[in-house]
């Protein structure tokens, strides 16, 4: 499954520019699903037929955080703005790959040591710029005109049990859903797999993807924090390597209790390690599903992830495999 993960995480597809990742996922799953369509916003929706007459929806968002070019100066330096929650501190010194193929390096201003120090203290997008190797405005406008989208440029690394890459958020869940689609032979319910757009800018795709489906249960698969690093958030107790987490709540939603208990039941039936998660910030596509139409019982299964929204997000491979097992178990046991 590591090959699949590498393939999906290395694709550059920020919010609103999901064409490349959608194409790659479509290619992977086309032969394994009974239905496949792309909706008006670009959500990829696949279905595997079951027998119970009930419907389960599993979601992963395809997009990743990114940046967009907003200004080009006379010397060919770019100014950028963020798509989703991008920290300027994380950007500093990192490489950006633009949809046009241009590469850039992020740096910051400062005309004196004191000014540079002040800027670093409160770093924001007004004080960082991108160097794409252009020497004039005209050259830069050809390479990456205003409105060009970009993402971190970072390669997949296999550290054995731990895997490193950009956009584990949420390509690791895309890979998990693709693997589930391939391994799932006899689902109990009709299982809809939604690869949603624009989660990072505000849960756009998942707010509408289920409108025509109205499943009996919807589960967003996403990354969560990895609060097991030195002096990390002590109010959150889950960690990498101890299994996927069943989310109880975050800032966006409180998981439906029926979803939480059903996930725990099937985990117990199949002896799959799981943890409970209360995240003190953040939100997932579950929020979009929960308030769709007359309301959908919704929750989130998360893969604990260190350094979320950085160019180097780390997950544990066993957690990934156990998430596939958990979703497969739910699909086979039924909602």
């Amino acid at each position: 499954m590591k090959e699949l993960i590498k393939k999906l995480v290395e694709i550059s597809s920020p919010s609103g520019r999901e064409d490349a990742i959608r194409e790659a996922i479509t290619e992977e799953v086309r032969d394994y699903v009974d239905e496949l369509r792309v909706d008006a916003l670009g959500n990829l929706i696949c279905m595997k037929k079951g027998k119970s007459g009930k419907k389960l929806l599993l979601d992963a968002h395809m997009d990743e955080i990114g940046v967009v070019v907003t200004h080009i100066d006379d010397k060919g330096f770019l100014r950028i703005d963020m798509l989703g929650g991008v920290s300027p501190y994380m950007l500093l010194g990192s490489r950006i790959i633009f949809e046009s193929g241009a590469y850039g390096i992020v740096s910051t201003e400062g005309e004196s040591a004191r000014e540079a120090g002040e800027i670093m203290k409160n770093l924001d997008f007004d004080h960082i710029f991108v160097d794409i190797g252009a020497s004039s405005r005209e050259e830069a406008e050809k390479l990456a005109p205003i409105g060009t989208f970009g993402t971190y440029d970072s390669k997949f690394r296999d550290l054995g049990e731990k895997l490193v890459s950009k956009s584990m958020d949420d390509r690791i869940a895309c890979a998990i859903l693709v693997q589930t689609i391939k391994e799932l032979k006899e689902p109990a319910d009709d299982v809809y797999f939604v690869f949603a757009v624009q989660e990072e800018v505000g849960i756009v795709g998942a707010s509408v993807a289920a409108f025509d489906i109205m499943p009996d249960m919807a589960i967003a698969v996403d990354v969560t924090a990895g609060p097991d690093t030195p002096k990390s958030f002590k109010r959150m107790g889950f960690k990498l390597g101890a299994g996927p987490t069943i989310k109880i709540k975050d800032r966006g939603s409180v998981s439906s209790s029926r979803v939480v208990s059903r996930l725990k039941e099937v985990a117990d039936i199949r002896s799959i390690p799981v943890q409970y998660e209360v995240l003190i910030f953040g939100g997932t596509d579950a929020r979009g599903y929960q308030v769709t139409g007359k309301g959908i019982a919704a929750g989130t299964v998360s893969v604990p992830t260190r350094y979320v929204h950085s160019p180097n997000e780390i997950v544990d491979y066993n957690d990934v495999l156990n998430t596939v097992r958990l979703l497969k178990a739910l699909a086979e046991e039924g909602v």
């Binding site: 008006a40 967009v68 200004h71 409105g147 756009v204 993807a209």
Partner: protein, 344 residues
């Protein structure tokens, strides 16, 4: 050249939740020009010009009727009125301004401590909304209560005026959009369009994009074009790379804003149409700020939209400034897009 109808639209009072006068004006303007016309339960004005039946698709043009303003929240013992903001209003632009209070439009002024009595430590400091009062000349609370109550809307009283290629008024956000829709409707009179052209003048954008989703669920469009008024920010004291847009550079096209990346296909269609018709345009160069397109994307099974704006300096203030050529550029682009029908 005076943009007569834009002038009248801007001078109408229409703080969020109190858009009736704007809605009625629009209803009168479009009567007889459309096949269907109704006002819904929240005050959105919705109109449909049926296509010739070649296509079953629907395009919705949308603008919001409301404007930012104030609301009376307390009547003080001295007969002055305390207020709260409706929508995003900077308290710094309120001091010393004339306003109209209530549906009766009674004139008042927003007072603050005179420069003579201020300590050097308070001078040039922004007062909080709580420190500002509206004075209408009542000697005491009981007198004020005869004409006012808590919840009365307060409107900026700026008269519309044109100076060269610029116009100054309140409420360009979003009466420019309202007028664009009226102009498009005039432009398509007598034309046979392949698709249903739908119009939505919606309420309460400024307080959280509340009217647009309701309108869209009645119209069920396949795509939408949102006509907005947007931040210029081309102030000389700011470096150019911080300008969101600049006056005189043409209609503003948005690739992404707060909470949404605009539909790429529609965005590309707008850019291509502008280029091919030699309509000068510019991009919105900051992400902050949202529009009703954000609501439409999250409505029903998702309605893709494009956003085209007239840029405005000192937006959300009693004295906003637009370049008339930018506005006319938006009108021209809107008209071409509708006639070509490529957005669908």
């Amino acid at each position: 050249m005076k943009l007569e109808r834009l002038c009248r639209l801007c001078e109408l009072p229409g703080v969020s939740g109190f858009e009736e006068k704007v809605a009625s004006f629009i209803e009168k303007e479009i009567e007889g020009k459309v096949d269907e016309l109704w006002k819904d339960s929240v005050g959105n004005v919705i109109a449909i010009k049926k296509g010739n039946g070649k296509s079953s698709k629907r395009l919705m043009l949308l603008a919001h009727t409301d404007e930012v303003g104030l609301m009376v929240k307390r009547i003080n013992e001295d007969g002055s009125l305390s207020f709260t903001a409706i929508g995003g209003v900077d308290p710094r632009v309120l001091m010393g301004k004339k306003v109209f209070v209530g549906e009766e439009m009674l004139p008042g002024v927003i007072g603050f401590e005179a420069i003579h009595t201020q300590e050097s430590s308070t001078l040039l400091k922004t007062p909080s909304m709580d420190k500002l009062r509206i004075y209408l000349g009542y000697p005491k609370k009981e007198e004020a209560q005869k004409s006012h109550k808590i919840g009365d809307p307060v409107f900026f009283s700026t008269a519309y005026e044109e100076v060269g290629e610029y116009a100054v008024a309140k409420a360009f956000d979003d009466r420019t959009g309202c007028e664009i829709l009226l102009r498009v409707l005039d432009d398509v009179q007598g034309l046979s369009l392949d698709y249903d052209l739908c119009f939505a003048w919606v309420v309460q954008e400024e307080v959280g994009l509340r009217g647009s989703g309701i309108a869209a669920r009645q119209i069920k469009p396949d795509a939408a074009l949102v006509f907005e008024n947007t931040t210029a920010g081309d102030n000389p004291e700011l470096p150019e790379y911080r300008w969101a847009t600049s006056l005189g550079m043409g209609p503003v096209l948005t690739f992404a804003h707060s909470g949404l990346v605009l539909d790429r296909r529609i965005f590309d269609t707008i850019v291509e149409t502008a280029r091919r018709n030699s309509i000068k345009f510019q991009y919105k160069r900051r992400i902050a700020g949202g529009t009703d397109a954000g609501r439409l994307a999250r409505t029903m099974s998702g309605i893709p939209a494009g956003v085209i704006s007239t840029p405005s300096r000192y937006i959300h203030s009693p004295t906003s400034i637009i370049n008339i050529n930018d506005f006319l550029g938006v009108a021209e682009l809107a008209s071409v897009l509708v006639k070509e029908g490529k957005v669908l």
